[in-house]
């Protein structure tokens, strides 16, 4: 008898770090594990930060976020458009080169693999920006549906997640900040983490870059008069804060990542720029009703329930999940996502039960928090359509007590349009 030795599964979990990890620690950020990543949740009050201040900076000035934990999947080749159309619910054929769209990858059941931003970078070249917690799952899912078919799509599927440091520059002053780095070098204070770089500029045509468009910019860094770094940089006018802003994709080299981070903060000083962590990122996206995977969307929630109809193009003849969504639409909604505002004192938190006025359990809170800019306690929750009308009174169960809340219009916050 020959025993086949079984190799125990590797149970060691490595917490991953972005190229800016040492920078966050040097700045004194409070670090937490988020989806397997060691990330800053907030920066210290001593430098004008903390979730509330960071949140307000993004609503009134500008905030800088390390979002390198997000993943990136590139589909390129003659069959790239057909592949993107097959795996995502929005209509990528409408994208001009340089345009981006919010979309989602769906299971055949019409529920969510993840939500994504699809960027069209070239004729047959698409970049999907995906969530941190679902990086591997998403890549495997995309790869198997694009390449491991009976008839594979004629395109390559690349996981570029580790190649980029992704930094978000968000807020009404984001464009002013980037413009300051456009066309001329600024001096960046010396720091051992960004050595040997001393000067930075990031060129791009920011002025004509519209919301949800991407462009190719150029990042340059100097030591004295030596141009040590000069590289193309993808710049999207996108974000997750319900404000104007940019997301830039630079090399994941630690020194250049740190140099760009410090350079953005330096250039942003006059606009009130502060570093922002995941805490503010969450409250900002909640005020704007932007969904978070595992909360408003998941593998058990479908597109109609999540209220993302606008980005789901049923006129497309085929995409994964379409048939199930057709049936779900015919069957009618059993629950729907609503915005709640607490009437009585209390803060609804993720997972809390929602009760009807009589105390019967009818749903649950997906995300809840004090809203630092609106200065209200708000939440998103799944409830039956019968209780989804604006003005409906419900109760949120907080530590055993039913606390009164009301269904309100969403998004809770909408940025003022520039005239």
């Amino acid at each position: 008898m020959s025993a086949v030795p079984t190799i125990p599964p590797d149970v060691s979990r490595v917490v991953r770090k972005t190229a800016l990890n040492a920078v966050h620690r040097q700045m004194g950020a409070k670090m937490v594990e988020f989806n397997g990543w060691d990330m800053p949740v907030e920066y210290p009050a001593a430098i004008g930060c903390g979730i509330v201040n960071e949140h307000l900076a993004v609503r009134t000035g500008v905030g800088i976020f390390d979002v390198s934990h997000m993943g990136d999947i590139r589909l390129a080749g003659p069959g790239a458009l057909d592949a993107v159309q097959h795996i995502s619910m929005n209509d990528a054929s409408r994208l001009a080169i340089g345009q981006a769209q919010y979309s989602a990858l769906l299971y055949p059941e019409g529920t969510f693999v993840d939500d994504v931003i699809v960027h069209r970078l070239g004729v047959d070249d698409y970049l999907l920006v995906i969530n941190a917690g679902t990086r591997e799952k998403d890549f495997n899912w995309v790869y198997s549906n694009v390449r491991e078919n009976m008839r594979p799509f004629d395109c390559l599927v690349q996981n570029l997640s580790d190649d980029y440091t992704q930094i978000a520059i968000q807020g009404p002053k984001a464009a002013d900040l980037m413009e300051k780095l456009n066309g001329n070098f600024i001096d960046v204070p010396a720091n051992k983490l960004s050595a040997p770089f001393q000067k930075l500029r990031i060129d791009a045509d920011y002025k004509s870059l519209k919301f949800y468009w991407v462009t190719q910019g150029r990042t340059m860094a100097m030591r004295g008069s030596d141009r040590l770094y000069d590289s193309g940089t993808l710049i999207g006018r996108t974000g997750y804060t319900a404000e104007d802003g940019f997301e830039i994709y630079i090399s994941s080299d630690e020194a250049i990542s740190a140099h760009v981070w410090f350079g953005l903060l330096e250039a942003g000083k006059e606009f009130g720029a502060v570093p922002c962590g995941l805490g503010a990122r969450n409250t900002l996206r909640l005020e704007g009703k932007l969904p978070l995977y595992g909360h408003e969307i998941s593998d058990t929630i479908n597109v109609w329930e999540a209220g993302l109809d606008r980005w789901c193009k049923m006129e497309k003849p085929e995409f994964i999940g379409r048939d199930a969504l057709e049936k779900a639409r015919a069957a009618g909604l059993k629950r729907t996502l609503v915005g709640l505002e607490m009437i009585d004192r209390g803060i609804a938190r993720d997972g809390y039960k929602v009760l009807d006025a009589g105390g019967l359990e009818i749903g649950y809170v997906t995300s809840g928090s004090p809203a630092p800019f609106l200065k209200k306690n708000i939440a998103l929750a799944y409830v039956p359509p019968s209780h989804s009308g604006i003005g409906t009174t419900v109760l949120v169960e907080i530590r055993g007590q039913g606390v009164k809340a009301q269904v309100v219009p969403t998004p809770f916050y909408k940025r003022p349009r520039k005239t």
């Binding site: 409070k30 979730i51 509330v52 805490g279 803060i347 928090s369 004090p370 630092p372 530590r399």
Partner: protein, 126 residues
């Protein structure tokens, strides 16, 4: 962070003074971040040492408050209902409730300022 020596501390990060005032430590407020809500018992409520008596909430977290000692609540700092951020500004001044100590010797079992500081630094080392 420095901890006043005129009071005692718990491993749950509360402080209690000899006159029965109770609050949370500077370390606790720093870990919580921006405090937005403090839920406290009413005057007359009986606290039992080691049991929860209220809740403090920051933007991102909910934390229980544990009684450092037993006794009946004689005063509640009403200011914190409208200005909970006072706890962030000066946690050692922003008392939450005052109790009539049932057994003042209970305080002997709590941490001194130096012991608490040591406890916090050891906790951070993990």
């Amino acid at each position: 962070m420095s901890y006043p020596t005129d009071r005692k501390y718990t491993k749950e990060h509360e402080w209690i003074s000899a006159d029965g005032r109770i609050g949370i430590t500077a370390h606790a407020q720093d870990s919580l971040g921006d405090i937005v809500f403090v839920e406290l018992p009413k005057v007359g409520a009986e606290l039992t040492s080691g049991k929860t008596f209220g809740t403090v909430e920051s933007v991102k977290a909910v934390s229980d408050l544990y009684a450092p000692a037993s006794g009946a609540v004689t005063e509640v700092n009403g200011e914190l209902a409208t200005s909970p951020e006072k706890v962030n500004k000066d946690a050692h001044a922003a008392w939450m409730i005052k109790i009539a100590l049932k057994d003042p010797s209970e305080l002997n079992g709590l941490l001194s300022a130096a012991d608490y500081e040591k406890f916090v630094s050891e906790e951070a080392g993990h």
